[in-house]
Symmetry: none
Subunit: 204 residues, 4 copies
C-alpha cells in the first residue's frame, strides 16, 4: 500500500516530471526553430526585421517570439551567442599561439570583423540609440571587451603598441568599420580594420 502510494505518487510525480520534461524538450526544439528562423530572416532583412516575418518563417505566432525573447535584443543575442562566445574564447588561444601579442590582436580583430560583416545590420544595431538594442550593445561589450583589453594590454606590455586607444574605442571603431560592409563590394572592412591595428604598432 505504501508501495502503491509511493508508486502512485512517483507515477504522478514522474508523469508530471516527464510531461514537464517533454514540454521542455518541445519548447527547446521550438526555441531552436525560432532561432533558425530568426537567423535566416536576419540574413536577408537584417536584425531589424519585423517580428511578424520571423514568426511567419518559424511557423509560429508572434506571441511565441515574445514569450521566448521579450526584447529584440534578447533574440539577436540568442541568435549570435555561439559565435560571440567562440570569438571571446579565441582570444586567449590566439595570444598563446601567435608570434606576438600584436599579431594575436590582429588575428582576433579579423575574427571579429568576419563575424560582424556577415551579419546584416548587426554592426549598425550595435551603435543604435534605440533602447531595444541597449542590451545587445551591453552583451557584446561584456563578453568581448575584456578579451580585447587583454590582447591590447599584452601588446602594450610587450612594447609593441602605445597607449593610443582604449579597448572600447578599438572595438567601437572596428564595429563601425563593419557597418554596411556587406553591401559594398568595393569596401573591405577586414582590410580597414587591419589598418587600424597596424596603426597601433610602435617600433621598439
Amino acid at each position: 500500500m505504501a508501495g502503491r502510494d509511493i508508486h502512485t505518487v512517483s507515477e504522478s510525480d514522474g508523469g508530471a516530471r516527464s510531461a514537464s520534461r517533454a514540454r521542455r524538450a518541445d519548447a527547446r526544439r521550438n526555441q531552436q526553430t525560432l532561432l533558425d528562423a530568426a537567423a535566416a530572416v536576419f540574413v536577408t532583412s537584417g536584425v531589424e526585421a519585423p517580428v511578424r516575418d520571423i514568426a511567419a518563417r518559424a511557423g509560429v505566432g508572434m506571441g511565441t517570439i515574445y514569450r521566448h525573447f521579450p526584447t529584440r535584443a534578447d533574440l539577436v543575442v540568442a541568435v549570435y551567442r555561439h559565435q560571440v562566445e567562440a570569438c571571446a574564447e579565441a582570444g586567449p588561444a590566439l595570444l598563446a599561439e601567435s608570434a606576438s601579442p600584436h599579431a594575436a590582436l590582429g588575428r582576433w580583430i579579423d575574427l571579429f570583423v568576419d563575424f560582424l560583416v556577415t551579419k546584416h545590420g548587426l554592426a549598425a544595431a550595435l551603435q543604435s540609440d534605440d533602447a531595444g538594442f541597449r542590451t545587445l550593445h551591453a552583451y557584446f561589450l561584456d563578453r568581448l571587451l575584456p578579451v580585447c583589453a587583454e590582447l591590447l594590454g599584452a601588446a602594450a606590455e610587450a612594447g609593441e603598441t602605445g597607449p593610443d586607444v582604449t579597448a572600447y574605442e578599438l572595438m567601437r571603431g572596428v564595429g563601425n568599420l563593419c557597418i554596411g560592409a556587406e553591401n559594398d563590394p568595393e569596401y573591405d572592412a577586414r582590410r580597414l580594420a587591419q589598418l587600424l591595428v597596424a596603426g597601433l604598432r610602435r617600433e621598439r
Copy 2:
C-alpha cells in the same frame, strides 16, 4: 520718339530684366532661408529630420522644399556644399604646406572627420541604403575622392605608404568611423581615423 520708344522699350525691357533680376534675387534669398532652416534643424534633429519641421522652421510650405530640393539628398548636399568644397580645396593646400604627403593626408582626414562628426547623422546617411541618399553619397565621393586619391597617391609616390587601400576604401572607412560619434563621449573618431592613417605608413 524713337528715343522715347527706345527708352520706353528699354525701360520695359529693363523693367522685365530688373523684375527678373529681382525675382531671381528673391528666389535666391528664399533658397538661403530654406538652407538656413534646414541647417538649423539638422543640428538638433539630424539630417533625417521630418520635412515638415524644416518647412515650418523656414516659414514655408512643404511643397516649396520639394520644389527646390526634390530629394532629401539634394537638400543635404546644398546645406553642406560650402563645407565640402572647403574640405576639397584644403587638400592641395595641405599637400603644399605640410612636411610630407602622409602628414598632409593626416591633416586632411582630420578636417574631414571634424566636419562629419559635427553633422548629426550625416555619416550614417552617407552609408544608408536609402535611395533618397544615393545622390548624397555620390556627391561626397565626386568631390572628395579625387582629393583623397591625390594625397594618397602622393604619399605612395613618396614611399611613405604602400598600396594597402584605395582612396575609396579609406574615405568609406573614415566615414564609418564617424557614425554615432557625436553621442559617445568615450569614443574619439578623430583618434581612430588617425590610427587608420598611421596604419598606412611604411618605413622606407
Copy 3:
C-alpha cells in the same frame, strides 16, 4: 482473519476515504491559495488583472485558474463572497437595531459603499458590458437586491420614503457612484451615496 480482512478492508476503505478527504482538503487549500493570490493581485492591479499575474502569484498554472473559475466573474465572486454575504446579512440586523428603516438603509448603503470603494475596479466591473462580468453583476444582484428591497420597503411602509426608485435603481446608482472613487481624493463616494439616500426621504 475476518477481523484482519475487515481491518484490512476498513483500512483500505479508510485509506480511500481519508485519501479522498485529504484530496478534498488539498483542493480546498489549493482554492484558498488561489483566492488569496487573486485578492492580493486585485488590490494592486484591479479586478481586471491579467490571469497570468494571478496564476504566477498563486504559484500555479493558468489552466488551474480556469479549471476552478471558468470565468473571471466566478473568480471575482469567490474572492468577495464573504464580504458580500456579510453585507447581505447586515441588512436585517441594521433594520432591527436602527432608529428607523430609513436610517438602517443609510447605514447599509454605507457598508455597501465602503466595500465597493476599497475594491479597485470592482464598481466599474459591475457595470461592464463585458460578457465575462455578466455573472458578477447577477451575483451581486441576487444577493443584495432583496436586502436593499427589504430596507427600502420597510422605509416606504414606515412612510419615510416615497416610491421614487426601485431597489435595483438605488443599488445601481450607488454602485455607479463608487466608480473610480479610489483614485480621486476630491471625491467622496460615501457622501454622495448618503445624499441619494437623503433624497429618498419624505416628510410625513
Copy 4:
C-alpha cells in the same frame, strides 16, 4: 506701370489669399464631415472607437483625423462642444427663470444628464485614467464646473441647501450616475440624479 505692378501684386496676393480662403473653406467643410462621422461612430461604438473606423466613415485617411484632432480628447471635445456650451449657457438662464435656485439646479442637472446619457461611453471616458482623456475631463470641468458652482452657491445662499458637497463632487457624482445608463432600460439616470439634488435640499 505702377498700376500694373500694384495690380500684379494685388492679383498674386489676391490669388494667394483666395486660394487660402478656398482651402480654408474646404478644410472647414472637411472638419465638419469628420465631426459628423465621429459623432455617428461614437453613437454606435462609443467614444473609444478606433480611429480607423471614424476615418473610414468620414471617407478620409487616418492621418486626416490626426491632423485635425491630434488627441482623441480633441476630437471628442469638438464633437460635443456645442452641446457642452449650450449646457453651460443654460445655467444662468435657468437661474433667472426658475422658481428658486434649487429648482434651477435640478433643471440644469437634468440637462446635463440628458446630454451625457445619450453619449455612449462619454460618462465613462470622463472618469478614465487614460492620459488621452485627461484633456476631455479638463474641458468639461472648465466649462461646466463654474456653472454648477454658481447654481449651487445660489441655492446655498437662499438657504435651500447646506454645504454638503462641492460642485465638483456633485458633477462627478452625476457624471458617474450616467455611466452605462444607455444600456440599461431598468435604470433611469435622470431619476437618480434628481434624487441627489433632492438630497441637497434643506428645510428652512
